[in-house]
């Protein structure tokens, strides 16, 4: 007996959004927790040490939040004016912050009053950072200067006056205690070396620089202004790539913990995730307001975004190890499965394999027993038609191939026929289903022509179908016209290629056709 062959379900690729590893990874966060701050959140920084607390700078306060707390576990409010850029030291025990009045203050995480106050800037200090040796602090201010401070003596060591506009961002190298970079509104990013009194490198960004970032290796530099630009420092500041994926100024940058992904937040209310190998956008998040600050926790466990309206949005990664705890049904021992499997065939033995039991779908079982109407009913069930229309279409196609589609469609009452028509109305305009469904529609009309006008519900459906087909025809007519235009364009191309003796491009078009079909 020949086995029954299940119906092959044709899968059709859809152009458009694809599900990649990245979308799965970045979508795997819980709904955000929103915390209202006292003003625009200008900086968020995670402590590099467990328990990975984070410091949020907003208005004249710095709040420290625990990883899952929604209330600040600590607050530094000893600022006379707006505070900026609260940053943790590498060991997570000290915190430094700038202020609108030009002061730089150093706090112990456990204390309340500042440990050190560095006075020297005459205008607002928007950026501060610790150097790699932990004993110095770099600060950049609106008085165009960049200063290096010594923590033990609380003294100024060096001053650089090379920028010609506000210094608004900066960061210190993680490897070399003497190197740090700053970005300024004079459109430049400069790299300074504490061993010399001048900048060692300067790149022209082209727009006011809002944020800079050094890769952990120190080889690549990312600067953000209107666009995000990546520079190769080892080649002396060569522009590698310019990312124009935001339509407003980019205000903050951040690297994922693996270093494989770069995140940028912008005033256009989006966070984009780039791959650092291809520099293509692999994912994008939407937020409610313009984004000013962005930070990722250790192992990307948490994404914290601060916005202009003072809202802090905290997203936690969904925990994965939940399913493991379910009690498992006791299975037969492994031994029973492999029993006799490793028996070697002797000379006179004839090996008879037990036929493998095939699992058939319900509609396949019906088809196998020639219950065609029932099979069609099964796939016309709303759950099937909405979720997997391709199965329905494949069954219709199979019935048509067998020549029994008319029989299967016939003899339905008002409710069933309106189900069929609903499916047609929903899917007739899809090019991948159209050939099969048009055929089915014709058969339905032929069958039910005599009873038209008996049920207002069915009549309405027919009217709808007619409207749809009319629209589709109009659309295709337009498309035909457009195709004519494109043919014209392509024709000019062909002629040009014919004249120039480039053979490999002349067959580009047919080749393309093959790929598509």
């Amino acid at each position: 007996m020949a086995g029954y062959k299940p119906v092959a379900i044709q899968t059709y690729p859809i152009l458009g959004e694809k599900i990649t590893q990245d979308t799965l990874y970045w979508n795997n966060y819980k709904t955000p927790v929103q915390i209202k701050e006292f003003g625009a959140v200008s900086k968020v920084d995670f402590s590099p040490q467990p328990p990975y607390n984070y410091a949020v700078t907003a208005s004249s306060r710095i709040h420290i939040y625990g990883r899952y707390s929604q209330e600040p576990i600590k607050t530094f409010s000893r600022f006379k004016d707006t505070a900026y850029c609260a940053t943790f030291r590498q060991d997570g025990r000290l915190l430094v912050a700038g202020s609108e009045d030009g002061g730089v203050q150093l706090f112990d995480i456990s204390g309340r009053a500042p440990l050190r106050q560095f006075e020297g800037h005459t205008k607002a200090v928007h950026t501060v950072d610790f150097t790699a040796d932990k004993y110095h602090v770099v600060s950049g201010a609106d008085d165009y200067t960049v200063k290096l401070w010594d923590i033990p003596n609380s003294k100024e060591i060096l001053t650089f006056k090379e920028h010609s506009d506000y210094v608004r961002c900066g960061c210190a190298s993680k490897l070399n205690p003497d190197l740090f970079i700053t970005g300024s509104y004079d459109h430049t990013v400069k790299m300074f070396d504490a061993r010399t009194s001048e900048s060692v490198l300067s790149v022209e960004h082209g727009q006011p620089v809002e944020s800079v970032l050094l890769f952990p290796s120190g080889g690549l530099l990312v600067s953000a202004g209107r666009y995000v630009k990546v520079w190769d420092m080892l080649k002396g500041g060569q522009l590698l790539v310019s990312l124009k994926n935001h339509h407003k100024t980019v205000t903050c940058l951040c690297l994922s913990s693996s270093g494989q992904r770069l995140l940028s937040g912008s005033l256009d209310r989006k966070v984009k995730v780039y791959s650092t190998t291809s520099y293509k956008v692999v994912h994008s998040f939407d937020y409610a307001a313009s984004i000013l600050s962005l930070a990722l926790a250790h192992e990307d466990e948490t994404i914290v975004v601060g916005m202009t309206n003072g809202i802090l949005s905290v997203k936690h990664r969904k925990s994965e190890a939940k399913k493991e705890s379910l009690p498992r049904r006791r299975r037969p021992a492994y031994r029973t499965f492999i029993k006799g499997k490793n028996y070697m065939k002797q000379r006179d033995d004839i090996l008879i394999n037990r036929p493998a039991k095939k699992h058939l779908e319900l509609y396949d079982r019906d088809l196998k027993h020639f219950r065609i109407s029932k099979a069609l009913d099964r796939v016309l069930d709303p759950t099937c038609t909405i979720k997997t229309p391709e199965i329905t279409v494949s069954i219709i196609k199979e019935l048509n191939r067998r020549g029994v589609l008319a029989n299967a469609l016939a003899g339905r009452d008002e409710k069933e026929i309106s189900h069929v028509l609903n499916f047609l109305i929903r899917n007739l305009s899809q090019p991948r289903f159209a050939p099969v469904l048009i055929n089915a529609a014709e058969i339905i009309i032929d069958i039910y022509l005599p009873v038209i006008g008996q049920s207002p519900v069915v009549d309405k459906k027919f009217l709808l179908l007619q409207g749809l087909v009319e629209k589709e025809i109009d659309y295709q007519r337009e498309l035909l016209e457009t195709l004519g235009m494109m043919d014209m364009l392509f024709a000019t191309m062909r002629r040009k290629e014919g004249t120039s003796v480039l053979e490999h491009t002349s067959d580009g078009f047919p080749e393309n056709k093959k790929i598509e079909s």
Binding site: L15, S59, T249, N407, G411, R412, P435, P450, I473, Q476
Partner: protein, 683 residues
């Protein structure tokens, strides 16, 4: 931080726009908007009463304003005899309005005269004026400024009476004590001055950020056992920029306690605060705080000593638009200011935009913790304003001045500055004299509407939106642009698209072409436009074929079904028309009676007999189908037996199903029980 830093860059800027209700009767609401206009609205009927533009409105924008107290007006009015209008009943009308500017000058504007009364400049401030307070009865004016000084003015002589340094940093707010002998000033700290000697009486800690408002909340001390010296024991309230807490302080007799007595918490920084004074011990203070997020919080509290926890509001008021239909969600309308009416039981709310606020009186009777008022403000626009303006002044504009409008570089904006409303008013007046015929005026209006159609305005922003949307792949933005139906608009937009966005646009269109024909038709319009407008550019692209290959294939595959689809369409049309004819027949049957339709049935038969044959050919394949029709025929025979009146139709041939169908269908409305029977037989 180009745009986002608005809040963080300039912490000294006050949150809202300076505005105030006129004292006591609250008949007027004065508002100095950011474009330099001072507008005075009538609160009773929500009309624009006056509009005034100071000559230096761009260089020295108005930073604060204050109405002169009513008592002062009454006292002063006899001194100014020049005004005629003042003669009757004007004595209690509020008149003078003091405006502080960003350059340090103070202007006194008279609402009765509708023009500037005097200027206070000499010896005053040389920096931004932060706050102005009128003294209740001495006719003095106090002002404070970024130049760290507080100045006492004599309004009659327009001279400085006294000027002293108020703080080490800028002084941001002032308030005069209820008895008029003390002055509160807020700079880095809050200080209480004795006005006679100009000495500091008390210090208070203040806020971390500049104080935006100071107000006394009580006029009597809480316990009356002690002798009252006019100030001790009084409470006052302070709110600061970027601070969600309003602090309440008490003036104590001993100078030790410097911290706040209690505090009120609100959802965002306070923009406008109004309160009702409590005159005795039992009466609670009512407080209305308008926040930057557009909500009003109402507090009702008897001030009685120290309270550790911040108090939350008793009632919150919000205003939202009605959501039209299912999809559009209601949008919040920001409340701009709120003031208690004199009866203390209702609240005047000012909401909407700064340029056309709506003023409404809302009764406060409910105990509900949250009130959301639904208001439609879309319909109260310009026309109201034009009719209501009584006196309007505009600055003299140089005709050579250029107006810069944002747009994409390379394309010059086509927008001209909208003519100020006043011109229209003036032209109306003039028209009376110059005798312009109505015809001419109508003609002029027509031209106007043609020139300033929507397209001009929108195409200017559509290319920008589309370019940005393509750049950031913003779905909503692209939807907004691409779903337009206006062909003219599409053409203009495509024309202005920068060249480098053409290929991304085509790719986006490719993605959208594969949808439902309803939306895809629009995309074809775009595609056609792009192809026609940028044909020359596209034909120069070396990699055009690979770029557009997908698009071409997609379209071609879709068009493949055209023939079959047309065929199907033909069938459907036939079906539908048949249905409609049937309907007409039944309708006429109902109205006219049963004799006439017989002839109509004949007509239908003759027209469609050929179609029936072709149908038969197809139907030959399935026996079931044929059987079906036979069944139908026999049924119809039965029907006609029943229908004896119709002699003509019965006489015709029996074989033809089509004729029978129409005849039978006529009857089927009557006996529908045949229908299920039919179905069961088929199975």
């Amino acid at each position: 931080m180009a745009a986002g830093g608005g809040g963080s860059c300039d912490p000294l800027a006050p949150a809202g726009v300076p505005c105030a209700f006129s004292p006591h009767s609250q008949a007027y609401f004065a508002l100095a908007s950011t474009d330099g206009h001072l507008r005075v609205w009538e609160t009773a009927n929500n009309r624009l009463h006056q509009e005034y533009v100071p000559s230096a409105h761009l260089s020295g924008t108005c930073t604060c304003l204050a109405w002169a107290p009513a008592r002062l007006q009454a006292k002063e009015s006899p001194q100014r005899k020049k005004r005629k209008s003042e003669a009757v009943g004007m004595s209690n009308q509020t008149d003078l309005l003091a405006l502080g500017t960003a350059v340090g000058s103070i202007l006194l504007y008279s609402t009765v005269k509708g023009e500037l009364h005097s200027k206070l400049i000499s010896g005053g401030h040389d920096n931004r004026v932060n706050c102005i307070q009128w003294h209740q009865d001495s006719g003095c004016l106090y002002s404070c400024s970024d130049d760290k000084h507080i100045v006492e003015w004599n309004v009659q002589t327009c001279k400085v009476k006294c000027k002293w340094k108020g703080d080490n940093s800028s002084v941001s707010s002032l308030c005069i004590s209820p008895d008029g002998k003390m002055l509160l000033s807020a700079g880095r700290t809050i200080k209480l001055w004795v006005l006679e000697t100009k000495e500091v009486y008390r210090h208070f800690t203040g806020h971390a950020t500049p104080v935006s408002s100071l107000m006394f909340t009580t006029i009597r001390p809480p316990n009356e056992s002690q002798p009252f010296d006019g100030i001790t024991g009084l409470y006052f309230l302070s709110g600061a920029v970027h601070d969600r807490l309003l602090n309440v302080w008490q003036v104590r007799s001993e100078n030790k306690e410097k911290s706040a007595v209690m505090s009120f918490t609100v959802t965002d920084e306070p923009v406008y605060i109004d309160l009702t004074l409590s005159e005795n011990k039992e009466e609670p203070v009512k407080l209305a705080v308008v926040c930057r997020d557009g909500q009003v919080h109402l507090f009702e509290h008897i001030l009685n000593g120290y309270c550790k926890k911040p108090l939350t509001s008793n009632c919150t008021i919000q205003i939202a638009t009605p959501g039209k239909g299912k999809k559009s969600t209601p949008k919040p309308i920001p409340i701009l200011a709120a003031g208690f009416c004199s009866d203390k039981m209702s609240l005047l709310l000012v909401y909407g935009s700064w340029f056309q606020p709506t003023i409404e009186r809302v009764a406060l009777n409910s105990r509900e913790p949250h009130m959301c008022l639904v208001r439609d403000i879309s319909n109260c626009w310009a026309p109201k304003v034009e009719t209501a303006i009584t006196k309007v002044r505009t600055p003299v504009m140089n005709s050579e001045a250029k107006v810069l409008v944002p747009g994409i570089p390379g394309h010059h904006a086509a927008i001209k500055p909208a003519p100020p409303q006043t011109e229209q008013v003036e032209s109306k007046r003039k028209s009376g004299g110059n005798e312009v015929s109505i015809e001419e005026r109508l003609g002029a209006m027509d031209i106007d509407t043609h020139k300033k159609g929507k397209e001009d305005l929108q195409t200017n922003s559509f290319p920008v939106l589309l370019t940005q949307g393509l750049e950031s792949n913003d779905f909503e933005m692209l939807n907004k642009v691409l779903q337009t139906r206006n062909v003219n608009l599409i053409k203009k937009t495509v024309l202005r698209m920068p060249l480098h966005t053409i290929i991304p646009l085509l790719q986006e269109l490719t993605k959208r072409l594969q949808g439902h024909p309803n939306s895809a038709v629009l995309m074809v319009q775009w595609l056609k436009c792009v192809l026609t407008v940028h044909a020359s550019y596209l034909s120069t692209l070396p990699d055009l074929v690979p770029q557009l290959g997908t698009l071409y294939q997609l379209m071609e595959s879709r068009v493949k079904t055209f023939q079959k689809l047309s065929h199907l369409h033909g069938k459907l049309i036939l079906l539908i028309t048949q249905y409609f004819i049937f309907f007409q027949v039944t309708a006429s049957e109902k109205t006219k009676g049963a004799t006439s339709p017989g002839q109509k049935a004949k007509l239908v038969y003759e027209e469609e007999s050929s179609e029936e044959e072709s149908d038969d050919e197809i139907a030959d394949k399935d026996s079931e189908d044929n059987w079906d029709e036979d069944e139908e025929e026999s049924e119809s025979e039965k029907d006609e037996d029943v229908e004896e009146e119709d002699e003509d139709a019965e006489g015709k041939d029996e074989e033809n199903g089509e004729d029978r169908d129409t005849a039978s269908e006529k009857e089927l409305n009557g006996d529908s029980d045949l229908d299920p029977e039919n179905e069961s037989e088929e199975e």
